[in-house]
Symmetry: C2
Amino acid sequence: MKQKFIRKAIEIARKGMENNDGGPFGCVIVKNGAIIAEGNNRVTSKNDPTAHAEIVAIRKACKTLSSFQLTGCEIYTSCEPCPMCLGAIYWARPSRIYYAATREDAAEAGFDDEFIYKEIDIPPGERKIPMKQIERSSAKSLFTEWIKKENKTAY
Amino acid sequence: MKQKFIRKAIEIARKGMENNDGGPFGCVIVKNGAIIAEGNNRVTSKNDPTAHAEIVAIRKACKTLSSFQLTGCEIYTSCEPCPMCLGAIYWARPSRIYYAATREDAAEAGFDDEFIYKEIDIPPGERKIPMKQIERSSAKSLFTEWIKKENKTAY
């Protein structure tokens, strides 16, 4: 079963590449032994830098389940998720992830995954894209309002 | 100018929270001194775990610019980006990021940002969401095909 699903993710990656949708990346999401969503990279064809295979598949799976959580789901992806996709997976909270190629393999093919992983460990002000903190107090008081808010949906 | 834009991001965050769109997070993207896109968190109202303020704003800005890159843009966000959003920002490649609250402030308000940052530094197999590598060779050969491919758009 695992082999079947990861091969499907790789097949989707190849088709997307051949179709010039974007990079060679594919993902399937499985619940109770059945595929509930598929996704392939569409960054360049959709002008959407967030349209990685995993993000596309997560958004579809959540739509199918009418939920912002992928409880009990497994994610099969043709490559180790980049930090964006790993973050998305954590927010979606599936039970397990299977991946084929590594971030180093992706780097060899010219993708920034490994570079972004390295940047995360550098202090914000010293990163290649400089980050500066301003106006913390007004943003903090917003969180205090959130904590006190009664009719809210936590996630 | 910086203050004006970060306050706008915080105002958008507050409105989104009051409207029950999702968590108290807002973002504006600026090019040549003008706002080209705004976004607020819509995770729970859209059943989309990827609908963080920055992702929503990046997708809009790229649509506006008809580009998968935010060259020369500045991102103003009411809170330090989570790993998903930081990754998205790196893929979009803006010139600079301003943020207000920190990941620790977000954690105090019940959000997983800090937890996800910590998980990234743990080996894949030992994370709270277990990750397992399978079928590496067939995925690697796909990258070889990508490298050889002539009519492709790199990103």
